[in-house]
């Protein structure tokens, strides 16, 4: 009976220095996969390599051999010593391997729980393996179940619902204030990776005009070009608060860039339309007192981090439901997997009995001469004996009703008749 084995390394078991040594790039993956598939003992194989993990999922008849060969292959292919990564490897077999694949694909095993990329990466890995025909009956079935489980967990739990990055948290907040971000005008003060990422997210939510202000006007012009916006002088900020909906600030200024009185003076001109300040700078750019003005909201970096921490907790809570769904799926897969073993067991049982009958008939007939017709009669009788004897056990093994502990019965039958030598 073939077995499912998973050999891998991830961000929890190995530091990046080790992971990067054995990662397979996009272009390497095809050749590596084919090379792996050519190894003896490996019947089916799938190779997943991302920046956080390298995993080899395989089906084999000879577990220890396949594991050794895979380790050697990883070492040989990447030209590093086995000892460098061997202690970081985890090896799962059978149900544990299936559970691991389900968990990885549903992002329950990710560094950031619920992040959506991993499923796509597994799909790519499977597509590659399927096109190279390195997967067969078992892995095909397993991967299709994996995609199903991952999708189910995403829809039935809140694992990916809430923002867990500063820029997404800001966008989520904006939605709660404005409803839709479509057409909202944005002012970016200063520059910085996080601030620019937030602007990009807002643009993707179809925000409106974008203004960029910077102490150095050239920088403002450069950023404005990047976002197809308008560059402003630093002194113009107070004035344009009249029509801006969302302000993202990230300057190195030691003082407040936007003060309470500046905002207060435009509220009436804005006809009380809400204004949302996202202050990513340290020290802060926006006077926190602005938050106390009507219809204006200020979130600084700590506030956003606080939201993210809460959301992370939510995701961790939701992950518990995800684990339950995974457990259920593992049991279902196990039942299908066991049913694979029924047919070979029945065939082996029949072969064994038939060979006994044949051997005994031959031995009996050696003693005296028997005509062809008699020999034919005896053979026929032997056949019907085998059929009659095996009828009930065969029906029993094939019956669906015993699905729950099929493996136990198969095990018993195999032991009882000593089918495994």
């Amino acid at each position: 009976m073939p077995e499912i084995v998973l050999i891998g390394i991830n961000h929890k078991t190995a530091p990046v220095e080790v992971r990067e040594c054995i990662a397979f790039s996009e272009s390497d993956a095809t050749a590596a996969l084919q090379a792996l598939h050519r190894q003896p003992d490996i019947r089916e194989v799938l190779l997943l390599s991302t920046c956080n993990r390298v995993e080899v999922l395989l089906v084999t008849d000879n577990k220890p051999g396949a594991i050794e060969r895979t380790k050697d292959f990883i070492a040989g292919y990447n030209k590093i010593d086995r000892s460098r990564f061997e202690n970081s490897l985890y090896i799962h077999e059978g149900d544990a391997a299936v559970r691991h694949v389900f968990k990885v694909a549903s992002s329950l095993d990710s560094m950031i729980i619920g992040e959506p990329q991993i499923l796509g990466q597994i799909k790519d890995a499977y597509r590659r393996a399927a096109s190279l025909k390195t997967t067969g009956v078992i892995l095909n079935r397993l991967l299709h179940r994996t995609f199903f489980v991952a999708k189910r967990i995403r829809t039935e739990t809140g694992i990916g619902d809430r923002a867990v990055s500063i820029s997404y948290a800001a966008v989520e907040l904006g939605r709660k204030i404005f409803g839709t971000l479509e057409g909202k005008t944005i002012l970016l003060v200063g520059a910085g990776e996080m601030a620019e990422l937030a602007v990009e997210h807002l643009i993707r939510s179809r925000a409106g005009d974008i203004y960029v202000a910077n102490r150095t006007f050239e920088n403002a012009v450069a950023l404005a070009k990047k976002f197809k916006g308008t560059a402003l002088n630093f002194e113009e900020i107070a004035d344009c608060l009249k029509f801006i909906d969302i302000v993202i600030s990230s300057t190195g200024s030691p003082d407040f860039v936007i003060t309470r009185s500046q905002v207060k003076s435009v509220i009436r001109i804005r006809r009380n339309r809400p204004i949302f300040f996202i202050d990513i700078a340290v020290p802060r750019d926006i006077d926190p007192a602005v938050n106390r003005l009507t219809n204006s909201y200020v979130y600084d970096i700590d506030d956003l981090q606080g939201i993210i921490d809460e959301n992370m907790e939510d995701r961790t809570r939701e992950a518990i439901k995800g684990h339950r769904i995974v457990d259920e799926a593992v049991i279902n897969f196990r039942q299908w997997y066991d049913s694979l073993a029924v047919v070979p067991t029945i065939v082996a049982l029949r072969n064994k009995i038939e060979s006994i009958v044949e051997a005994e008939i031959s031995r009996t007939l050696q003693a005296g001469q028997v005509s062809h017709a008699d020999r034919w009669m005896l053979d026929k009788m032997g056949h019907s004996l085998v059929n009659k004897i095996l009828h009930d056990p065969t029906v029993f093994l094939k019956k669906d009703g015993m699905a729950a502990d099929k493996s136990a019965y198969i095990d018993t039958v195999r032991k009882l008749f000593k089918l495994d030598r």
Binding site: K176, I177, F178, N272, R273, P274, T294, Y297, E310
Partner: protein
């Protein structure tokens, strides 16, 4: 009590329970069943009212019991419309219990006797009563939306996102739905007052008689008129608008019930029990 009313109350209760469950377990099927239950209750309730109308030949607003029943019916109806228009799932958590509360009072009040039959056949009076009730229901929902707005605003301002943040819709949606309710309520209140004047003229010979109900209705009307005016001119929106919607509804409740129970006047019969 008519069997249809009883069925309506049961459906309303079912709806309120489902909305409560929806608040805690955010599952769409809960919201759908709550909405369907409320709609079913509303249909039964409408049938009960039409039946009463047909049986007696007059509008069933003869005593407090019938009046509150109509009020509950109007709230349910206006909520269904607002929900249909704005998809504000969470508003049900305010509207359904309000309807249940009204109907609970209805079922506790004695059936009593309706007042003189003849006056409720007049067209102007029927228009007057219908417009006022539906308008008041719209104001009630505006008040509920105001409460939800303040809750959500508080969540965002204090940055404590625990419970309401994800359950309540955006501030903008709450604000614009509240505004729509106030505009509707105000329009209907105006229609109700005008038809009331016309009816008063036809019965008593003069438009205005300084009846306490009339005075307080005028106060209510002016209150909402100011609110709308400020919104249109200086852009009163958000927090202030929400608070005003809540205060406005308190004034309205006083006009609706307080005046009848505490003061005297020619509307007294509606709340007799």
């Amino acid at each position: 009590m008519h069997i249809l009313t009883v069925i309506a109350i049961l459906f309303y209760m079912l709806s309120a329970a489902a909305y409560f469950a929806f608040l805690f377990i955010q599952k769409n099927y809960l919201h759908r069943s709550a909405y369907t239950a409320l709609a079913t209750g509303f249909v039964c309730h409408t049938a009960a009212i039409v039946y009463a109308f047909a049986a007696t030949g007059q509008m069933p607003v003869g005593n407090l019991r019938e009046t509150l029943s109509i009020a509950g019916w109007a709230v349910a109806g206006v909520f269904l419309a607002v929900q249909y228009r704005f998809k504000l799932k969470i508003l049900g958590i305010f509207a359904a219990p309000l309807v249940v509360l009204l109907m609970a009072v209805v079922s506790l009040l004695p059936a009593g006797s309706a007042q003189n039959a003849t006056i409720f056949k007049n067209f102007w009076l029927i228009a007057h009563v219908a417009a006022i009730f539906i308008g008041e229901a719209a104001f009630a929902l505006a008040c509920g939306l105001g409460v939800l707005y303040l809750l959500q605003e508080n969540t965002i301002k204090t940055k404590k996102h625990r419970f309401f943040f994800k359950r309540l819709p955006s501030l903008d949606l709450l604000d614009s739905a509240g505004y729509a309710c106030i505009v509707t309520g105000f329009t209907l209140l105006t229609v109700g007052l005008v038809t009331g004047f016309v009816y008063a003229r036809s019965v008593w010979g003069h438009f205005w008689s300084w009846d306490p109900k009339e005075v307080w209705s005028a106060v209510t009307w002016i209150f909402y008129a100011v609110l709308l005016h400020e919104r249109l001119t200086v852009g009163w929106r958000g927090r202030r608008s929400a608070i005003m919607a809540i205060i406005g509804f308190a004034v309205l409740l006083f006009t609706f019930l307080g005046v009848n129970l505490l003061l005297k006047g020619h509307h007294g019969g509606f709340t007799r029990w």
